[in-house]
């Protein structure tokens, strides 16, 4: 599964994307975020506070409680600020 990072999430992690293979008990985006957070100090800094994070599953905005089974691509990012 591919995980994409944007904005300050990307900056803190130091990478725009990574390929991951989470274990079966990591079943939602929220669980995926907790699982990713221990990978590095950068991951921890980026992913510590779920309240400041939003996500997309296969290019579609979804709540963090969304299941990840079958997803090709999960994106994790701060609240958007376009327009």
């Amino acid at each position: 599964m591919r995980v994409l990072y944007f904005a300050w999430v990307r900056e803190r992690i130091g990478s725009a994307e990574e390929e991951v293979d989470p274990p079966p008990e990591v079943d939602t985006i929220a669980a995926l975020i907790s699982w990713l957070a221990v990978r590095s100090a950068g991951h921890a800094a980026a992913l510590a506070d779920c309240d400041r994070l939003r996500a997309a599953r296969d290019e579609e905005f979804v709540p963090l409680q969304t299941a990840i089974a079958g997803a090709r691509e999960i994106a994790i990012f701060p609240p958007v600020t376009g327009g």
Partner: protein, 144 residues
């Protein structure tokens, strides 16, 4: 006709207007980079693919809800300086209320529904723009 463009090229209003459907009533909105607090550069990051998808979905909603004859969204990405145009929205309908409302809807909703992130440069430091509560409130008033 629906037209959605995400581009790093400057937005030329005359060109956009020439392409916008014009039937009865045409409303447009243009957002520009402000030099607030000494901002010298604005960097717009986005999520390629998802951005276009979100904007097209939004344009389709507006198109049906207000029976539009045309909806255009052009959003610039990459590096910009104060005065540069960030976003252009145009809506066209038989009557003015539909065009004006749909235009306000699109600009309000694209601020919360499309994956763009703004980073401001102030001299030699930079900061990510925080979302504004008022943007959420403006977007929420348009019940779907």
């Amino acid at each position: 006709m629906i037209r959605v463009v995400v581009t790093s090229a400057p937005i030329v209003l005359a060109d956009e207007l020439a392409m916008a459907e014009q039937s009865g009533a045409l409303a447009t909105f243009t957002g520009m980079v402000r030099a607030d607090d000494g901002v010298t550069e604005l960097m717009l990051e986005h999520y390629p693919g998802a951005t276009e998808r979100a904007l097209e979905a939004l344009a389709r909603v507006a198109f049906q809800r207000w029976s539009l004859s045309g909806a255009t969204i052009v959003h610039r990405v990459g590096s910009m300086v104060p005065g540069d145009r960030i976003v252009f929205v145009a809506t066209s309908a038989a009557h003015r209320a539909a065009a004006l409302e749909a235009c306000a809807f699109l600009i309000d909703r694209l601020k919360t529904d499309a994956p763009f992130w703004k980073r401001e440069r102030l001299g030699d430091r930079h900061r990510w723009v925080e979302p504004r509560k008022s943007d959420d409130a403006s977007a929420a008033q348009w019940q779907l």
